[in-house]
């Protein structure tokens, strides 16, 4: 009898294990009540109580929330809820293995390719996506690279089976502002040559702007008179969208004198919607940036000083110095596979002058505002998308662990290749033979 019972137990174990392993965990939607939680709203202070997720949105939050029948209750005792973190500049989804060029989709041939769509090439199944989101980074700007106008960046949520499902409601045209800076010690160009090349690039940019303006005028006229329809020119059509304010211009600019020039240029051209990205030497011209009212997406924070003569901690203090001067500052990693380090970049900025509260904002509500999606993302408020996580504490702190994760209302399994390898190899079988 005892023997038989053993067999039954064994069978049950096998059946349970089978059902566990046979089913791959995947994101699920539903009604979720996160109870007993500390709720860090970011915009409306810290609350305690329940956060209710329904139809993909935050339906209610606070101490007076009634949990509806049928809701999945998740006890968040001892945990804190935060809005998902937003990385304002990455190549996530556009690259799989750094050194293998055929897995790289961020850099198309040509100098003037503003119509290249990052969203087209975002791979929803990139291995780095689960690796990133399980650390609380839920939304990223995926950005094309290199050339004067490399393409159109796209904001994506890190959930979905198609790029369209991932799309988070913002696109921006990238401009790598012509730079007078050297790109490394081996850059042997003389000051004279650099100046000439910069002037040439700036002239090219201005010519394109003039052409786009002309194209835009013709296209407008064509709305009344079809015979005016300009020939197919996707480059100009895209730049025209920047001119008439349909799309934001994301100006990548880092050197102080280039930033000054870029401020002047965007004012002269009256670019309707603009943000600066990179802005490594923003601290040198912070007052001018503040006066111009141009928001900044800066980073990486964990980076080298731009000049050998600069104080060692300038990359860390840059965000704080700009914020103090009155600049609206978001933080990015400019990374592909290690976008998960976004909270640490923010943490370093916090320690070196930005402060914890503002650093958290720089990876949540501030980028949401810059991208015009603050009605959906960036804080915990009723009606916003349920893109949030529960963590053991301060999400910028290194040892903090993410315990529950929701993106766009989907409960996301806390799994990634890195975690799977950990579970497979921590206590490997067979181990070494003694």
């Amino acid at each position: 009898m005892k023997f038989k019972f053993g067999y039954i137990t064994l069978f049950l174990c096998w059946a349970v294990a089978n059902s566990l392993f046979a089913q791959v965990e995947k994101p699920v939607k539903g009604t979720f009540a996160l109870t007993n939680a500390t709720i860090e709203t970011v915009t409306k202070g810290t609350l305690t109580g329940t956060l209710l997720i329904r139809d993909g949105k935050i339906a209610a939050l606070g101490s007076n929330v009634t949990v509806p029948a049928g809701a999945t209750v998740i006890d968040c005792q001892g945990l804190t809820l935060y809005p998902g973190m937003i990385d304002g500049g990455t190549q996530l989804g556009l690259g799989e293995v750094g050194s293998i060029s055929l897995t790289q989709d961020a850099d198309e041939i040509g100098d003037i390719t503003p119509h290249m769509e990052a969203l087209t090439a975002v791979n929803p199944n990139a291995t780095a996506i689960p690796v990133t989101r399980v650390e609380g980074v839920t939304t990223v700007l995926s950005v094309p690279q290199n050339g004067l106008l490399p393409g159109t960046a796209s904001l994506i949520n890190l959930v979905g089976y198609t790029p369209d499902q991932m799309y988070a409601g913002f696109k921006g045209v990238v401009l790598n502002f012509p730079t007078a800076g050297r790109r490394g010690f081996r850059d042997q160009r003389t000051d004279e040559e650099l100046k000439k090349e910069t002037e040439k690039a700036l002239k090219k940019l201005n010519d394109i702007w003039d052409q786009a303006k002309f194209y835009n005028e013709v296209a407008m006229a064509a709305q009344k008179d079809a015979s005016m329809k300009p020939p197919y020119n996707p480059e100009m059509a895209r730049v025209a969208q920047v001119l008439n304010g349909e799309m934001m211009l994301l100006v990548e600019v880092n050197k102080a004198s280039d930033i000054e020039l870029a401020i002047k240029w965007t004012q002269e051209k009256k670019v309707p919607k603009v943000a600066f990205t990179g802005v490594a030497e923003g601290w040198r011209v912070a007052d001018q940036l503040a006066k111009a009212g141009i928001p900044v997406i800066t980073g990486p924070v964990q980076a080298m000083p731009t000049r050998t003569s600069d104080r060692y901690d300038k990359p860390y203090s840059n965000a704080g110095l700009m914020h103090k001067a009155g600049v609206k500052v978001a933080i990015r990693t400019d990374q592909t596979e290690n976008v998960r380090n976004l909270p640490f970049h923010a943490g370093f900025a916090a320690a070196y002058g930005l402060g914890k509260e503002q650093a958290l904002k720089a990876v949540t509500i501030v980028p949401a505002e810059i991208f015009g999606v603050a009605d959906k993302l960036g804080s915990l408020e009723v009606g916003k998308n349920a893109t949030l996580f529960a963590s053991t504490g301060d999400p910028l702190e290194t040892k903090t662990k993410i315990m529950h994760l929701f993106i766009d209302g989907y409960q996301i399994p806390l799994d990634s290749r890195h975690i799977q390898l950990y579970h497979e190899f921590l206590n490997r079988t067979p181990g070494v033979r003694k």
Binding site: E96, V97, G98, S99, I100, T127, A128, E135, T179, A180, G181, R182, R183, G184, R186, D187, Q188, N254, K255, A256, G278, A280, E281, P300, Q302, M304, T306, R307, T308, S309, D310, R311, Y312, D313, P315, T336, E337, N338, R340, F344, G347, F348, A350, A351, Y352, L396, E397, T398, K399, T400, R417, H418, I419, L421, Y422, F425, L426, R428, G431, V432
Partner: protein, 458 residues
């Protein structure tokens, strides 16, 4: 002529003998002392006399003439070690042959490198300045102390540290020689045979020398083998006098080198990068090989695609002596933060995490009797933080080498260059190009056309 030479020789000897780097004495008062090996003590003092830790305890009386440093509210830990760095070097790779054990980066030390200062500002006191990974058997490396302020390369050397040499497996030597020059190795099979051939030739060289030494007294016609610096170095590896530090990523190549070393009786072995070390952690532990890794770098090339940020934790829990390194002038500035990542990825304790950048790195370099923890008798290498060093908000405040303050956040100037290099145009702006598609171990190995733009600097 001859007496003159002897006198010159003696003078040189005397000068070399005097070239002991400066040491200092100071008392660090009332900090939270993280010894790493012997526990953590609050409100405790650390006394350093003439460059050595003399006493750790409460309320130590300040000896006459010893500077006091108030560490109230601060955290005092051993100076951080980086077991894999390429800073303070004029050149990294002698990428001309698959075996270059005749060269030594110690001949190319650059005490003026501003990266030394910037590493100090991250609490680092000792680094393993390594040859690159272009060759299956690269050059000898040099363990140095960050005595920033000296103009003399000799002052950087950590006297008495064991000799180490760089080996390299996988893509880098395959790329440099097989793809680059059309010579073996182009595959991981070839890498194995390059190393086996080198070891075997060294055995033959040693045998020929032994044979000569045995008969030279009685046979005036006996000839020694032609002096071969490459073979001399390899012979010292076989004799156990040089520690191998091997650039490696994949589990199979890690197993291969352990097998080769077993066949030739080589025991002192540490793997570098070791991204797939977690797959063969029990084998590494059984061999007694160390593993020095990145906290979380992966996917920059194919051989690191199947990596995990839990690597250091898995190996630590399997008994492998593991360290976290930088291989980067940027990462070296926050190794304390890199070590902390093992608490997120694998839940290591504070002491386990701190050991990854202190005592374990010291063990891998064979200098754990001297540095890597705060213990009486060890070198006075100390880093002081304003918060627990494993917190993301921690700021290194002061770094001490041999009892001398080499970095002081409160007092140091913004521009800490010792010399303005006109070739490195001081006003120029450089956009930091961190690795996008390679580790830094191929520095100087290629002359890529797009090197100009920094992407292939590695």
């Amino acid at each position: 002529m001859k007496p003159f030479l002897s006198i010159l020789f003696l003078l040189v000897l005397a000068w070399a003998g005097n070239a002991q780097p400066a040491t200092g004495s100071l008392l660090i008062k009332n900090g939270t002392v993280l010894t790493v090996t012997k526990g953590t003590f609050e409100n405790t003092d650390v006394l350093v006399v003439d460059g050595k830790i003399k006493q750790i305890g409460k309320n130590i009386r300040t000896p006459q003439g010893v500077t006091e440093i108030d560490a109230t509210g601060k955290f005092v830990m051993p100076g951080i070690l980086d077991a894999h760095s390429h800073i303070a070097l004029d050149v990294v790779n002698e990428a001309t042959r698959p075996v270059t054990s005749d060269v030594w980066v110690g001949d190319a030390l650059d005490p003026l490198d501003i990266s030394i200062y910037r590493a100090l500002a991250g609490g680092v006191t000792t680094i393993h300045a390594m040859h690159g990974s272009a060759n299956a058997i690269g050059g000898e490396c040099e363990t140095i102390k960050l005595r920033y302020g000296t103009y003399d390369p000799e002052d950087l050397r950590m006297q008495g540290a064991p000799r180490t040499i760089k080996f390299a497996l996988g893509e880098n030597p395959m790329r440099s020689h097989g793809e680059g020059n059309g010579i073996v190795p182009r595959t991981r099979m070839g890498v194995e045979q390059v190393i086996r051939r080198a070891f075997s030739e060294a055995q033959e060289y040693m045998a020929a020398k032994d044979k000569y030494n045995a008969v030279k007294a009685t046979d005036p016609t006996a000839l020694p083998p032609t002096f071969n610096r490459r073979m001399e170095t390899l012979a010292e590896i076989l004799k156990g006098n040089i520690i191998i530090h091997c650039h490696s990523y994949r589990a199979d190549e890690i197993l291969m080198l352990m097998n080769v070393c077993r066949d030739y009786g080589v025991k002192r072995l540490c793997f570098q990068h070791t991204n797939e070390g977690f797959k063969v952690a029990p084998e590494l532990a059984a061999f007694g090989a160390g593993a020095s890794v990145f906290a979380d770098w992966w996917a920059y090339k194919f051989e690191v695609y199947y990596s995990t940020a839990y690597n250091a934790a898995i190996m630590t829990k399997n008994g492998v002596v593991t360290s976290i390194n930088s291989d980067s002038e940027e990462l070296i500035r926050h190794l304390y933060h890199e070590a902390a990542k093992t608490q997120r990825y694998g839940g290591l304790t504070d002491d386990e995490a701190l050991a990854l950048i202190t005592i374990n790195s010291a063990k891998q370099l064979g200098i754990d009797q001297r540095v890597g923890s705060l213990e009486v008798g060890k070198d006075g290498d100390v880093a002081i933080f304003n918060a627990h060093p494993l917190s993301v908000y921690a700021i290194p405040m002061m770094t001490i080498v041999d009892g001398i303050v080499r970095f002081d956040r409160a007092k140091d100037a913004d521009d800490q260059r010792m010399q303005v290099d006109p070739e490195k145009a001081e006003t120029a702006f450089f956009l930091a190009q961190e690795h996008k598609n390679a580790d830094h171990c191929l520095e100087d190995a290629f002359d890529f056309a797009n090197e100009l733009f920094g992407f292939e600097r590695e």
